[in-house]
């Protein structure tokens, strides 16, 4: 029986901490990557990025509805995955339109990063208006298909444990899609000519221009990659939870925190930062009481909830970490300014 207690405790932890944190971390990592790419190449903190996420997800939902009404479905997979490529195209086109009409003017003027940042606040307002205008400010669920891969009840019965493990299909999809996206992004940046020229441009603009890199091409590619990443991240998050413009706007803060914690401008850092923020949010607000009840002998059982911080502060945790990193190691976990 002693061993079972231990396994129960571990399953409990996996179910409530590890699996949710892994999927949330993957979503955050993708979103942070897009923020970092913009920062690395275009050199400004894009406050509108979370609203690009809303926009991309909204477009996906619209396409999903279209497919559903036409009777197209992906079987056990959510229809949204079929809609995703179309939504990415729309989002990228809109991104490029905004870049042409708004950002390119300041690029030509060689404005300071802070000016571009203020401009992105303006874009943020406009995107919020567009999203709320088209789809409204309410909560929307757009998940269809098979909901669970492993159900808690089946798991309990199969292994004869007290604790069950639930794995939602969206969680598995999230991890797989995120992995594919990250690997292809790193392959693109490290191995292809375009990716290399992007890194060169980010590292030293003048030198890159001298060696004949076309800056406009780099800018276009950057926005396209950013749209791919941010739309994917938004759709995965929305499938896992639900879509609501205000919730998405609030993700801006964890995204920035992850980017800085990981080391702003570094893609590897963005991925690490995303997971660090996600895992700390969930591990620090989880009530460990039941976990210790399994592990410790009865005489030592804790009386309180054994929670480091109340769940009310889930949202603030990313910033507490951010502040600590800013004090202790301002360069972030991975030092770096180039992408």
């Amino acid at each position: 029986m002693e061993n079972f207690e231990f396994i129960n405790a571990m399953v409990l932890l996996a179910n409530f901490v590890f699996v949710p944190a892994l999927s949330y971390g993957s979503q955050l990592a993708l979103a942070t990557l897009s923020l970092t790419i913009i920062y690395g190449v275009l050199r400004f903190s894009n406050f509108a990025q979370a609203d690009w996420m809303s926009f991309g997800t909204m477009t996906t939902i619209l396409f999903t509805w279209l497919f559903q009404s036409a009777g197209i479905s992906a079987g056990i997979l959510p229809t949204a995955l079929l809609a995703l490529p179309f939504a990415i195209i729309v989002t990228a086109l809109f991104c490029l339109f905004i870049d042409r009409s708004v950002y390119s003017f300041y690029r030509k003027q060689k404005s300071q990063p802070i000016v571009l940042m203020i401009v992105s606040v303006g874009v943020m307002f406009i995107l919020q208006a567009v999203v709320r205008f088209i789809i409204g400010p309410n909560d929307r669920k757009f998940f269809d298909g098979e909901k669970y891969i492993v159900h808690a009840l089946d798991f309990k019965n199969y292994f004869g444990l007290e604790e069950g493990l639930t794995i939602k299909s969206t969680q598995l999809i999230t991890v797989i899609v995120a992995l594919v996206a990250m690997i292809s992004l790193f392959y693109f940046l490290q191995k292809t000519k375009l990716g290399k020229s992007m890194r060169a441009y980010s590292n030293n603009e003048d030198l890159a221009l001298l060696s004949g890199i076309n800056p406009e091409k780099i800018v276009i590619v950057t926005w396209i990659i950013s749209s791919i990443l941010i739309t994917t991240a938004g759709v995965l998050y929305g499938l896992d939870k639900s879509f609501k413009p205000f919730t998405y706007f609030n993700l801006l803060l964890p995204m920035f925190a992850a980017a800085i914690v990981g080391g702003i401008g570094s893609p590897i850092g963005a991925v690490i930062g995303g997971y660090v923020i996600a895992f700390s949010e969930i591990t620090l607000t989880y009530a460990y009481k039941k976990f210790f009840v399994y592990l410790l002998p009865e005489s030592l059982e804790p009386s309180g909830l054994m929670q480091v911080l109340s769940t009310d502060y889930k949202f603030a945790i990313s910033f507490i970490i951010l502040v600590i990193v800013l004090i202790v190691r301002p360069t972030g976990i991975v030092r770096g300014k180039i992408i």
Binding site: F105, I114, M117, D312, Y313, S318, V323, L326
Partner: protein, 456 residues
């Protein structure tokens, strides 16, 4: 256009706009708008000090506003003696442990060189501090929150007149700004923006969830007022006489005695509302004038010139022997204190403190729009920005509903497209705000009333 003429023209247009609202909607509405405009202007001056003079991007305006609001509650609400009696000791002890742990942490961080010993000590302090605080804090707040939870359930305040809170809010916001500034001001500009944005969210989280301090999302309402209540006015003799005298000709024209009395009653009710708003407007306007005067003095003093020198060229100023960090900290504290005052004034005007209503869009980014569109570096510009943007923010809704009605004019009453257009009209105000900001940045980057650069 002549730069000298910009300010008078801008303010004349603003006055005309407010008068139009007064004539077409009502003077009461117009006065409510003016009151909030004045508060917005004060916030904008605070941000302008930081951004326009100092070049600091403070995206934590919301946090300081909320701190001001919290101060208003803590100063004016009556103390809950029962809560203090039963749990005061526990709360005080946990506060002492908290302060001691922070001091110990800072001491260890600064004075111990050996990394291993330092890290172990830090972890030990955090663990023991958390255990200590949890021991006293948890049970005490449970007691506090269980005392009459429907009405109070918190520690209450000092029971002073609410107008004192305006000054105290400045001190509280300034102290918090000192701590935040110490942490964040060494960062590059856009890091600073992100860090302050995050810290303001932490402030809101604390205000929202520490029910023993602020009642959290249960809100505190019925705060006392620095101005008379409408009902008192309606019952007092002098006010009745005043209303009668002002509307003498209107009353005279009515023959029947009873309908004349009815009209008088209506007039008294209307005028009492307007009178209260006028009182507020008077108070707020004096604060605005005082802050404006002091900011202008500061701007034209050697200190103001030094700040602008730092803003325009940090290296050069630093080479001249100016301590950039210290100056930045100073201006950050002063600007935040002003925002704190405005926050307390806002809560005073509302008569209630609602932590759930603090959203970054409304309390941070809109204020930024005011500063940038008004003209960063110019206090008059900020005041104009405060008036103009707030006016648009309020009036955007009726305007966009009108616009949508025009757009959907040809459609049937229950046409789904028409319903959708009208239902979403409210979101157009965000669009208008974004568009205004982008247009201003593109075509009027210095704002409506640009900064004056004095050359000798």
């Amino acid at each position: 256009m002549n730069d000298e003429l910009r300010a008078p023209i801008a303010f004349t247009i603003m006055a005309i706009l407010l008068a139009i609202v007064g004539f077409t909607q009502s003077w009461s509405v117009s006065l409510s708008v003016i009151n909030l405009c004045i508060i917005s202007s004060i916030m904008a001056i605070g941000v302008n000090l930081q951004w326009g003079y100092g070049g600091l991007f403070n995206a934590g305006v919301m946090g300081f506003t909320a701190l001001g609001g919290l101060t208003a509650v803590l100063v004016s609400h009556d103390p809950i003696y029962e809560a203090w009696d039963k749990a005061g000791v526990g709360i005080v002890i946990s506060a002492i442990i908290f302060v001691l742990s922070i001091t110990a942490l800072l001491f260890v961080f600064r004075n111990i060189e050996n990394k291993q010993i330092r890290n172990t000590l830090i972890i030990l302090i955090i663990v023991f501090g958390l255990i200590g605080i949890n021991n006293f804090y948890g049970p005490s707040i449970d007691i506090v929150e269980s005392i009459n939870p429907a009405k109070t359930g918190f520690l209450g305040g000092l029971g002073l007149p609410i107008i004192f809170s305006w000054l105290i809010a400045a001190i509280v916001a300034g102290l918090v700004a000192w701590v935040i500034g110490k942490i964040t001001l060494r960062l590059r500009s856009d890091y600073l923006a992100i860090a302050t944005l995050g810290i303001s969210e932490i402030v809101i989280a604390v205000v929202k969830h520490e029910d023993w301090l602020s009642r959290g999302v249960k809100n505190v309402s019925g705060l006392d007022r620095p101005v008379p209540y409408e009902i008192e006015l309606q019952e007092s003799k002098w006010f009745l006489n005043l209303v009668e005298r002002i509307n003498f000709s209107k009353l005279e024209a009515i023959q029947s005695l009873s309908s004349r009395q009815d009209l008088l009653n209506d007039l008294v009710i209307d005028s009492s509302g307007i009178f209260v708003k006028l009182c507020y407007a008077g108070l707020f306007f004096s604060v605005l004038l005082l802050i404006f005067y002091l900011s202008q003095l500061a701007l034209n003093s050697p200190w103001g010139r030094m700040l602008r020198a730092i803003r325009d060229n940090e290296e050069a100023a630093s080479a001249m022997g100016k301590n950039i960090f210290a100056q930045h900290l100073q201006i950050f504290i002063i600007g935040s204190a002003i925002i704190g005052i405005a926050g307390a004034m806002l809560t005073t005007l509302d008569g209630q403190f609602t932590p759930g209503s603090y959203r970054p869009l409304r309390f941070t980014f809109i204020i930024w729009l005011m500063v940038i569109i008004g003209g960063s570096g110019n206090n008059l510009g900020s005041i104009f920005g405060g008036f103009f943007i707030w006016f648009i923010w309020i009036e955007a809704e009726p305007l966009s509903i009108g616009f949508m009605n025009m757009l959907a004019g040809g459609l049937e009453y229950d046409n789904p497209l028409r319903m959708h257009l009208l239902g979403s009209a409210a979101h157009l105000r965000l669009f208008i705000m974004g568009l205004l900001l982008l247009l201003a940045l593109r075509f009027m980057p210095k704002g409506v009333i640009p900064e004056k650069i004095q050359r000798k």
